[in-house]
């Protein structure tokens, strides 16, 4: 029995051959609130998508609970960035939260009353019960964020992987979400949160991954929050890397040489 929630090894991702993540390596503990932090465009969303198997990898692999993703899918809930969907879709809060009960292999069955009950419970937990019949486009940013959170809760997973759940959220909602995350942790769940800003909410993270195209540092928050690390994450330390990135962009240079793959 190992202690890892996520293990990432040698992971690289490129969009149209332009590398966005370079050789990322880390292991994350279980049962903690883990922040993946870096400036905008540093590849945080890409990293989550890579871990969740949503995009092809250029190299490396990611494992969840030491297994292939496909074997543990039901134990992970993914919360995409709020802007990644069109909120004008014809659905109510309840419709979206119930999607959390859609399971692979059971997509053709009706939802049971237990499923519906679990959805209502999750809506109550994020304090959206008065809004459960609202069309989702009529919600504020913070309420939409909570809808996504409720859908994840409804999935009943062991690990929650969330992309920027604090963006566009008012202070009260921020508090609601944080309290919820902490109570999830107390139930032994692992919570992985992508966040672009170290100023806010970061004191709630037990563990940090600092990212800026490459891995800057990872470890318990207290050890990681050094001036040097922050400078490397948010400062202009990536000049050489961005230069190479531009060369690749301009010359269509392959990221990895064909026929010379590592053994």
């Amino acid at each position: 029995m190992s202690q890892n929630s996520i293990e990432v090894h040698n992971l690289s991702v490129a969009y149209n051959r332009i590398p966005v993540l370079w050789d990322i390596d880390f292991e994350l503990p279980k049962g903690q609130i883990i922040g993946i932090v870096g400036p905008n465009g540093s590849g945080k969303s890409t990293l989550l998508k890579a871990i969740m198997g949503l995009i092809p990898l250029s190299s490396g692999f990611a494992k969840i609970f030491d297994k292939e993703l496909d074997l543990v899918r039901e134990r992970v809930a993914y919360v995409p960035q709020r802007e990644s969907v069109d909120w004008d879709f014809p659905a109510t809060v309840e419709d979206v939260v119930r999607m959390g009960r859609y399971k692979k292999g059971k997509l053709f069955n009706r939802l049971s009353s237990i499923d519906k009950h679990l959805a209502s419970e999750a809506i109550e937990k994020v304090k959206l019960t008065p809004y459960k019949d609202r069309q989702i486009s009529q919600l504020s940013g913070g309420q939409q964020q909570r809808v996504f959170l409720a859908r994840a809760l409804t999935q009943g997973a062991d690990m929650y992987v969330m992309d920027e759940p604090f963006v566009g959220v008012d202070v009260a909602t921020e508090k609601t979400i944080l309290e919820l995350l902490i109570s999830m942790k107390n139930e032994g769940k692992t919570v992985v949160i992508v966040h672009h800003d170290l100023q806010t909410v970061s004191d709630s993270f037990d563990y940090l991954v600092l990212l800026n195209t490459r891995l800057i540092a990872h470890g318990p928050t207290k050890e990681i929050l050094t001036e040097e690390n922050l400078q490397a994450t948010y400062g202009g330390q990536l000049n050489l890397l961005s230069k190479i990135r531009n060369i690749i962009k301009n010359k269509d240079f392959p990221m990895r040489e064909k026929g010379f793959e590592d053994k």
Binding site: D70, S84, P90, L107, F108
Partner: protein, 425 residues
């Protein structure tokens, strides 16, 4: 006119055609809803243009206009066009829009060339094929309609069975993938349904205009409901009625293509929607604006009376009002009468006094205004000579809940930034 319509519906040949277009319209509405929600409306257009060479090749093989062969031809070419659009946009720097435009025009051009070859070959039935451009519902045979009905039922069953995967792929593709849905397969299935629908529809609607029948019903249906299953249903009804109405219009004169008339009917439904839809329709917006301006007028008048009362006048005439505020006299009179009707004012020979209820309501409005001004200066650091204007509009929006929060936030203040008393009930 009426006679003509009755005659039209009682004619067995017309009945057959009506049944055909009703099926086509309904299934287009159903399938089009998903294209619309996936924002793949351009792809639907590309598919319908691309299907022309498929129809021609099917005809060349069969020598006659056999619906099954034509459908197979359309299916193969339709799939191919979807695939090639995907291939071009994912492997080159061309955007999806560009590759759609390239592929659909190229395929349509090839189809047109094939069509003129077939015409030259002098095949007796070729004249029927020309109708695939703008559609001619009357050319549908009983066998065609049987085939279309069976395929439509198949499509409908697939939509019912795959409803949940379709829903999450349309709404949130990455979430669908994260729970293990094979998104590519679902997308392929959705494209296939679109191709099949186009194949069924083009004879009556034509390849040029078919995409309108896919997209317009869905776009209108979105205005009438916030529930996906109901939206699918409404789109089916709009599609069906547009089809039937289009055929009816096209019988006004002999030998007219049906496609343009169906599009005309679709346009009528769109217009109807833009005018009458709940919440987002023109009438609904107008009514809301009217109610809002009436509410604003009422509240402003009560507030003025309250101010006048603070200054010592408890009975107020028209003149008093107009000294305080310029206001349309007709609106003033109407609003005053209304306030008398609902018991906020007493009217004795055009001199008005607040009733007990009116006094409460006026105090509430003044309280809202003054609380909001205080909030802006205290919490938002507005200068106190800048706030009156914004407070004027906001005060009409403050609900009891917001008032409660303001009171808590400001700790039950007694005077506003201009040192006027904040009235409590």
């Amino acid at each position: 006119m009426i006679e003509r319509i009755i005659y039209f519906f009682s004619d067995p040949i017309a009945q057959k055609v009506i049944l055909g277009v009703a099926i086509i319209g309904a299934i287009s509405g159903v399938v089009g809803t998903f294209s619309f929600l996936r924002k793949k409306t351009l792809i639907a257009d590309a598919i319908s243009h691309s299907v022309l060479p498929g129809v021609c090749i099917g005809f060349i093989f069969a020598g006659t206009k056999d619906p099954i062969l034509l459908m197979i031809g359309s299916l193969v070419i339709g799939w191919f066009s979807v695939w090639i659009i995907d291939y071009i946009s994912s492997t080159t720097k061309l955007s999806e829009d560009t590759s759609i435009a390239l592929v659909s025009t190229l395929f349509f051009a090839i189809g047109s060339v094939l069509l003129s070859f077939i015409s030259k070959s002098g095949n007796a039935e070729q004249s029927g094929l020309k109708n695939f451009l703008f559609g001619k519902a009357a050319t549908m045979t009983a066998f065609d309609i049987q085939v279309f009905a069976i395929v439509s039922i198949g499509i409908l069953l697939i939509v019912i069975v795959f409803f949940k995967p379709f829903q999450i792929v349309c709404f949130n593709l990455e979430f669908a993938r994260s729970i293990g849905v094979k998104v590519r397969r679902i997308e392929f299935l959705l494209s296939t349904l679109t191709v099949l629908t186009v194949a069924i529809g083009i004879q009556a609607v034509g390849v040029v205009l078919m995409s309108a029948l896919l997209i317009a019903p869905a776009a209108s249906a979105r205005y009438w409901t916030n529930k996906l299953p109901i939206m699918v249903f409404i789109a089916a009804i709009f599609g069906m009625l547009s089809g039937v109405m289009g055929v009816m219009f096209s019988t006004i004169k002999d030998n007219m293509p049906t496609g343009p008339w169906i599009v005309f009917a679709l346009f009528l439904f769109t217009l109807l929607t833009l005018l009458f839809a709940p919440k987002k329709g023109w009438f609904s917006i107008r009514k809301r604006n009217k109610l809002n301006s009436r509410k604003i007028a009422e509240e402003n008048i009560l507030k003025i009376i309250y101010h006048l009362k603070e200054e010592g006048n408890s009975t107020i005439s028209f003149g008093n009002f107009l000294e305080k505020r310029t206001m349309d006299t007709i609106l003033l009179e109407k609003t005053l009468n209304y306030l008398v009707d609902i018991g906020f004012l007493k009217d004795s020979k055009k001199l008005f006094t607040l009733t007990e209820n009116g006094e409460l309501e006026a105090a509430r409005i003044v309280r809202s205004h003054r609380l909001w001004e205080l909030y802006l200066t205290k919490r938002m650091n507005f200068k106190d000579d800048h706030i009156h204007g914004t407070a004027e509009t906001i005060e009409h929006l403050i609900t009891p809940e917001i008032e409660k929060e303001l009171l808590k936030e400001l700790d039950f203040p007694t005077s506003d930034p201009h040192n006027k008393e904040i009235p409590y009930a």
